[in-house]
């Protein structure tokens, strides 16, 4: 730099005249400075946008790579940041610094000024202040008249004049250049920033699409998938490939239960027959598969009809799917492309009602079937009772002849109640019960389930027996009524007593009175004998009394009015081919009684009471024996028959055949199958925890019914896998609960001993 000495003759301008010239240069320089800053900003922004775009592109590339092999989160983050930093740094290094001179050059490119602006900027920075002031002052129009025209261009005045001209021209040009700076800067900004912005926005859009559409299930524990980079598993659920869904359960109409919104769940416990509606988001799934988690035999036994096919339909939210649940655990798998989602349905059935008969509390015997019998029962159903009633089966008859009729009383209908008490007072008179009738009483209840073959609930049965007329005057429980022969016993005893009394009073009575009384006794004896005969012949096949029998009756002969059985036949019982009536052991005593009564009657008809009395005693004894036999029999203590096996062993003429027994089916251990699946899930958990969790959830649902302890252990495994982290302890516990590994005692034997 050179300085111009004060003695060269340059007139110093007046102080006031200097101010406009200095400010003009300053204004130009200030404009240049403003332009410089703007250009610098453009450069920085471009670098930043480019860097951001590069980073996003790198992140996208890494995420795509992570689909195929797992990459740690740190690597992905570093891999995304590095290109960003490198591009930013690289962009800023290459001509990052925008100087005033460069700005001036750029301005001159926009509006050429003969490098005047550049020179101004360059020299302004280098000229001493006095020189620039002098130049500025000489450039001012007020100063110029003081300068005389000279001819010598080499004079300092000429030089200064030329400098002043140049200065003015430069100032003009520079001013012109700065004037267009704003527009040029805007164009520059657009031009420089447009492409990087487009690139960056494009990369960001791709990344967004990638994150929200297909992502293969990566490692949950590792970080290959978008959900792990972006945050928690909740967010991951929101970004799951099938997307969110909303489950609504509509219970069967007969239950009168309201519909339930379950939301976005993976499992549900649902009443059989409910309508399950799934509203999903996104495209319609390509396939929907429904699978029972029990064996086919159980499905067949439960009478379940499976839908032939199931498909989702488009809806306003995305897609929708409806099906009816069953009582068996079911898995629903919704698939779209390579992604799928599982819904586990734990179906349960509607239980049949529980009924408990409170009154009467015990079996009982009624002496006379009249009056009101209070009946009370409690009915309970888990969902909805439809009706309840008392049901009675009334059996009449004895021996081999029974008839039965069924009566329902106290029927009530219910509109979905859960707990009800059924009470009535049973009018026994209206039941038209007779002696010896047995009433089997129970309470029954139906629930509102609409199935045609629906089972009903019933209480325990109480037996109410009506005592026979001649039964003991006792209310103790007798399992059998007194037989008909009891009546005979009473009459025969009375006859005997009366005959003995008449014989004792013989001396005091006249012959006519004696004869009349004896005839009456004879008639009574005959009547009694006929009644016994009826009893005998009824058991022989409902024939009328022996008086009307003709010829042989079932092997019994009538000889002189008496019933005679051939002595060679066994009197304890006989059955001939084609005979249709069993003969029981009381026949022989009754026959004896009949015959003795015959003798007694004959004697009484002849007026010979003394002869009649012994026969009457024999008849009485025989009837007592018959009565005792029948009473024991009817009380359920059968006659004791002990066979002599040695005598009859292999005495039969026929021999059997050699035959082949069918083989028993192998009882396959379901525990083995479960353990195999558990081990497979454990191996899968190392690489794909989500799939392992699903497998174990399915296995848990299948095991709930048969192996609840194992199911509980699996629930712990599922919880541990959801939590993330090590689930080894839970796996080991589940395996042990299954009993697949047991200790054996070590002995000096090459094989283990039995468990």
């Amino acid at each position: 730099m050179t300085s111009v000495p004060a003695s060269t003759g340059i007139r110093r301008p007046a102080v006031g005249a200097m101010a406009p010239a200095v400010s003009a240069t300053g204004i130009v320089l200030a404009s240049v400075e403003r332009a410089r800053k703007s250009l610098q900003w453009i450069v920085w922004m471009r670098a930043l946008v480019l860097g951001l775009g590069a980073g996003i592109a790198a992140l996208l590339a890494l995420l795509l790579a992570a689909r195929h092999s797992p990459l740690p989160t740190t690597l992905i983050l570093v891999g995304a940041l590095l290109p960003t930093g490198a591009v930013v740094i690289g962009s800023l290094r290459r001509g990052a610094r925008v100087t005033a001179v460069r700005t001036a050059l750029w301005l001159e490119e926009q509006a050429p000024a003969g490098f005047a602006l550049v020179t101004l900027v360059e020299h302004q920075t280098q000229l001493p202040p006095r020189m620039s002031t002098q130049l500025s002052s000489q450039a001012s129009p007020q100063v110029s008249p003081q300068i005389s025209p000279v001819d010598d261009e080499r004079t300092p005045a000429a030089v200064h004049a030329r400098l002043a001209d140049a200065y003015l021209a430069a100032l003009g040009g520079a001013t012109r250049a700065t004037r267009i700076a704003t527009g040029a800067l805007n164009a520059m900004a657009i031009a420089r920033l447009r492409d990087p912005l487009l690139f960056t926005l494009g990369a960001a859009a791709l990344l967004w699409w990638f994150g929200t559409t297909t992502v293969a299930r990566g490692n949950e524990g590792t970080t290959s998938s978008a959900r792990n980079v972006f945050g928690t598993s909740n967010k991951a659920r929101a970004n799951a490939p099938i997307g969110k869904w909303s489950i609504r359960v509509e219970p069967p109409a007969y239950t009168h239960l309201p519909a339930q919104q379950l939301g976005d769940v993976d499992g549900a416990k649902v009443l059989s027959g409910s309508r399950l509606v799934i509203d999903g988001t996104g495209d319609v799934p390509s396939s929907v598969a429904l699978r029972a988690l029990v064996d086919s035999a159980t499905v067949a036994r439960a009478g379940i009809s499976w839908p032939a096919s199931l498909s989702a339909a488009p809806s306003s939210t995305g897609w929708s799917l409806t099906f009816t649940t069953t009582a068996v655990p079911t898995e629903l798998r919704v698939t779209r492309g390579i992604a799928n989602r599982l819904l586990l349905i734990e179906g349960y059935g509607d239980s049949i009602p529980r009924v408990s008969l409170r009154t009467p509390a015990h079996d009982s015997v009624l002496r006379s079937p009249s009056g009101k019998l209070p009946l009370e029962a409690t009915l309970h159903d888990d969902l909805a009772l439809a009706s309840g009633a008392f049901e009675m089966i009334i059996s009449s008859g004895e021996g081999e002849r029974f008839t039965a009729r069924t009566v329902r009383v106290g029927a009530q209908r219910y509109a979905g109640a859960h707990d009800v008490t059924l009470r009535i007072a049973l009018d026994l008179d209206s039941m038209k019960l007779g002696p010896g009738d047995i009433v089997h009483l129970r309470a029954v209840a139906h629930d509102a389930h609409p199935a045609a073959n629906r089972e009903w609930g019933s209480s325990e049965t109480r037996s109410i027996r009506v005592a026979r007329q001649a039964e003991y005057d006792s209310v103790s429980v007798e399992p059998a009524p007194p037989p008909e022969v009891d009546k005979s016993l009473l009459s025969q005893r009375m006859l005997l007593v009366m005959t003995e009394k008449l014989e004792a009073r013989r001396a005091k009575l006249t012959a006519n009175v004696l004869a009349d009384e004896t005839s009456k006794l004879a008639r009574d004896q005959t009547r009694l004998r006929l009644a016994v005969g009826d009893a005998v012949f009824q058991r022989l096949g409902n024939e009328s009394s022996a008086e009307h029998a003709e010829g042989d009756e079932k092997g019994i002969k009538i000889v002189d009015g008496k019933l005679v059985m051939p002595p060679e036949q066994d009197m304890t019982g006989m059955l001939e081919e084609g005979d249709d009536s069993p003969v029981i052991g009381i026949n022989k005593p009754l026959l004896e009684a009949y015959n003795a009564m015959w003798d007694a009657g004959r004697a009484l008809e002849l007026g010979d009471r003394k002869v009649a009395i012994p026969h009457m005693r024999v008849a009485l004894a025989a009837i007592e024996r018959a009565r005792a036999a029948s009473r024991l029999y009817l009380r359920g203590k059968p006659p004791v028959v002990i066979l002599d096996l040695a005598k009859i062993r292999l005495a039969g003429k026929d021999t059997g055949i050699t035959n082949v027994r069918s083989v028993r089916a192998v009882q396959s251990s379901t525990a083995r199958g479960r353990e195999a699946r558990l081990l497979r899930a454990a191996a899968l958990a190392v690489t794909d925890a989500l799939s392992a969790r699903d497998s174990i959830a399915v296995l848990r649902l299948e095991s709930v019914g048969e192996a609840p302890e194992f199911a509980n252990a699996l629930a712990s495994v599922v919880t541990a896998l959801k939590r993330g982290g090590d689930a080894t302890d839970e796996f080991v516990r589940a395996r042990r609960v299954l009993g697949g590994v047991t200790r054996a005692s070590g002995t000096g034997w090459s094989r283990v001993s039995p468990p």
């Binding site: 059996s395 069924t406 006989m574 249709d580 059968p638 066979l643 069918s662 089916a665």
Partner: protein, 219 residues
């Protein structure tokens, strides 16, 4: 074959074979004891035609007691309605699951009768629906060969009860094994006589009982 407790004879331990015991089911609701002679007749038939050790006397066993489990074949009959109590239901269910065989005969011989209807309902609740057993089943070849299925009884032929001749028996099968065998043919009446009277019969009508016992003992 020796039956009874182990004994030592001539220095040798003689271990008896286990004897078959014919058990009749005793239930609470009806006339379970309506055919007391059946046991003797069946025992007689087993001894007469087979070498199976059998106790000479039958036994009655309550259905409500776990004692039932000690008799893997049990016979049930009656005329009156049958209603199992909760305890009887549970015991019977376990009994059949573990391998027991329940042989039921309708002493009424009446498909409209209370016994038939109530037994079918009770069996359905305990173990399942009674279904016709094919006449080619191995039961009919288990000892004697019954080519035409279950032998007809005289009660059927004489039109007693429901006046029907039932062509088949009904059964509940667990896997392939008969768990419940149900007869409407009234074998209870058919076999209700003293075994000594078999000598008067031209055909022994208790042979089918042998098939049932042999089936129960070997399948």
């Amino acid at each position: 074959m020796v039956t009874g407790e182990p004994t030592v004879t001539a220095g040798q331990l003689v271990v008896p074979s286990e004897a078959f015991v014919f058990a009749t089911a005793q239930y609470e609701s009806g006339d379970w004891d309506s055919a007391p002679m059946v046991a003797a007749n069946v025992i007689d038939a087993i001894a007469r035609y087979t070498s199976i050790p059998v106790r000479p006397q039958g036994i009655s066993v309550p259905l409500s007691s776990e004692v039932l489990y000690g008799y893997p074949l049990v016979y049930l009959t009656g005329h009156l309605p049958v209603r199992f109590s909760n305890k009887e239901t549970e015991v019977l269910r376990q009994y059949l699951r573990r391998g027991g065989l329940l042989f039921i005969d309708d002493h009424n011989h009446d498909i409209d009768g209370a016994f038939n209807k109530t037994v079918r309902e009770e069996v359905r609740r305990v173990v399942g629906e009674l279904k016709p057993l094919p006449n080619t089943h191995e039961l009919y070849r288990a000892f004697f060969n019954f080519e035409n299925g279950p032998p007809t009884t005289s009660h059927e032929m004489n039109g007693w009860g429901d006046n029907l001749v039932h062509e088949t028996l009904d059964a509940v099968l667990i896997e392939t094994r008969i768990a419940v065998l149900f007869s409407n043919k009234d074998y209870s009446s058919e076999w209700s006589y003293h075994p000594d009277n078999k000598r008067f019969l031209s055909i022994d009508n208790t042979k089918f009982a042998v098939n049932i016992v042999v089936y129960a003992l070997t399948r």
